[in-house]
């Protein structure tokens, strides 16, 4: 792996870290404590795992890397990618040009012993970072397959991704989603199928998770394949009022964004976005 790729990788990670710093996180101390605990547990589990791998090469008592990785604090959004999906080289096409130390990272994910004649890796933490990125990118591809969608649909129904912060969405479940498919651009966001908008995850533990690990397609593919998962919540728009009197549209600070939450049943709209019954009325007017 060339030094250039490594540099790029580090830059990308730096970007993700910067993004994390930019998100002005206002967490409750309690939540942070809880997080720290979980992270400590995760790290501890990791040490234990790697430790046992060194001492006991059969590794029977340790978890597979994928299961371990998904159990870490802050990785609750991930589905466990099936081994045969990772093992099929076709599914990994092109990833070797994105991920540094691709071969070593793949070996780590699949719990394979490194080949003896393989070049020395400068630091195991670099491979760990590569393995995380590689896993994330494989994950992006896996969750749009039939098997992956099924797993994520189960996680969605179990509420693993949290709920929509918008009051009128009545805490409906959300799904993780990225705005970019390339790693290192933006962190993960949450897509609400009711208001069809995206939100930042409430907990800071997800503010360093790359959106590319979920991809732009997955959230919409999920609701396309499982339309029954789309919540049926009555469409309500917040109306600002002072002492019970609505604020006039003509006021300088009157409502201007009501259109944003105005949702119509797609079946009631024609292709140009008009309500079909309105369109009919207009046609009748024209014919007169």
């Amino acid at each position: 792996m060339s030094a250039h790729d490594l540099q790029q990788q580090q830059q990308q990670q730096q970007q993700v870290r910067d993004m994390r710093a930019a998100d002005d996180v206002e967490e409750e101390e309690e939540e942070e404590e809880e997080e720290e605990d979980e992270q400590l547990q995760g790290e501890y589990a990791g040490d234990e795992y790697y430790g046992s791998d060194v001492s006991n090469e059969s590794g029977t008592e340790s978890m597979p890397w994928i299961a371990w990785f998904c159990s870490l604090g802050g990785h609750q959004y991930f589905a466990e990618v099936a081994d045969d999906f990772v093992e099929d080289d076709f599914n990994l096409t092109g990833l070797n040009s994105i991920v540094p130390f691709y071969k070593e990272a793949l070996e780590m994910i699949l719990d394979l012993e490194p080949e003896e004649d393989s070049p020395k890796v400068p630091d195991v933490s670099i491979v760990e970072a590569s393995a995380e990125q590689l896993y994330g990118l494989i994950h992006q591809r896996f969750i749009v397959t039939r098997q992956g969608l099924q797993q994520m649909a189960d996680k969605y129904q179990a509420g693993h991704f949290g709920s929509c912060p918008r009051t009128y969405c009545q805490s409906t479940n959300v799904v993780p989603c990225g705005r970019y498919d390339l790693p290192g651009v933006e962190t993960v966001k949450l897509y609400c199928p009711n208001c069809q908008d995206i939100y930042s995850p409430p907990s800071s533990r997800y503010h360093n998770l790359d959106g590319a690990y979920f991809g732009t397609t997955f959230a919409h593919m999920l609701f396309h394949i499982y339309p029954e998962l789309v919540p049926n919540i009555s469409n309500k728009i917040y109306t600002p009022a002072i002492y019970g009197f609505k604020i006039s549209e003509y006021s300088r600070c009157g409502p201007r964004m009501q259109w944003l939450r105005n949702k119509q049943d797609p079946a009631a709209l024609d292709a140009s976005g008009r309500l079909i019954k309105d369109a009919k009325d207009n046609d009748e007017d024209d014919s007169k």
Partner: protein
């Protein structure tokens, strides 16, 4: 409840002001109930209600029927409560005092002085930031859905997307909305209209493998149509108002109406003045 242990009550004979002057060496502010209350975890949304406001009985009209042990609760808030009270009773009064403070708070924050205090907190982002990605972390303001106590918990209003959100933390989510009132954020923006951010027409576009979804695109065209209609309506309405804006606004609104008719037949997002443009014209 350990509340009575957390702050030492001042001697019953001394009022707050007197205490201030007599015990110069003792500058422990937690002895004041309000300071203690504001410093307690989960009460970050509250601002300090002026003592003069609380002491003016006119401002408290009707609250005596709302709050149990009203006079004791009021004494506690103003640090005049008799020390010799049994613990059980004190807990009850403590609870009432918090409720009373919340209700006074709701009235206070829509006064001129209250608004400036809340404005400071808004600028410091004490109420958190909008979770919506396209609002780019815009600060929020607390708002209620009902002015009646014990009905709905507090919500957070984002003036950028004009929508309301649930607080992130469960501690804040359990605060009664009536302690802030339905009117507060809108009153704030009526008084400080320069704080209203420019409205953006940005919206999240779902895509599968880079392709827009037909159903969603239809809805977006419908939303664009609604937006143009309301824009045209606002511009036409301003024309009709006695305080007509500059002539530029009139012409642009006529253009807007014509465009609107054309767009109704054709597709939506051709030449639409942005909402921020509309606002600038209004002013």
């Amino acid at each position: 409840m350990l509340t009575h242990l957390l702050y030492p009550l001042p001697p019953s004979s001394l009022s707050r002001q007197v205490d201030d002057y007599t015990s110069g060496s003792d500058s422990d502010y937690t002895k004041y109930w309000i300071d203690w209350f504001l410093g307690t975890k989960g009460n970050e949304y509250f601002c300090e209600v002026d003592e003069e406001y609380i002491l003016d009985r006119f401002n408290l009209t009707g609250l005596n029927t709302e709050v149990q042990y009203y006079s004791q609760a009021l004494d506690l808030i103003t640090d005049n409560l008799d020390e010799n009270m049994d613990e059980e009773m004190r807990d009850i009064v403590e609870k009432s005092a918090r409720h009373l403070y919340g209700l006074i708070h709701a009235r206070f924050i829509i006064t001129t002085h209250g608004l400036t205090k809340m404005l400071e907190k808004f600028k410091k982002c004490d109420f958190g930031r909008c979770p919506r990605v396209l609002c780019h972390n815009h600060p929020l303001l607390p708002v209620a859905l009902s002015d009646v106590p014990y009905t709905k918990s507090v919500k957070l209003f984002c003036c950028r997307c004009e929508d309301i959100y649930n607080p992130k933390s469960t501690r804040h989510a359990s605060i009664d909305g009536a302690y802030f009132g339905c009117s507060f954020p809108h009153m704030l923006f009526q008084v400080y209209p320069q704080l209203v951010p420019p409205k953006s027409t940005d919206r999240y576009v779902p895509r599968i493998f880079g392709f827009k979804l037909h159903d969603v695109a239809k809805q977006h065209r419908y939303q664009d149509m609604i937006r143009e209609e309301s824009h045209a309506r606002i511009m036409a309405g301003i024309e009709g108002l006695p305080t007509t804006a500059a002539t530029g606004a009139q012409t642009s609104s006529r253009d807007g109406q014509q465009n609107h008719k054309i767009n109704k037949a054709a597709e939506g997002n051709a030449t639409v003045a942005t909402e921020s443009g509309a606002m600038a014209d209004v002013n």
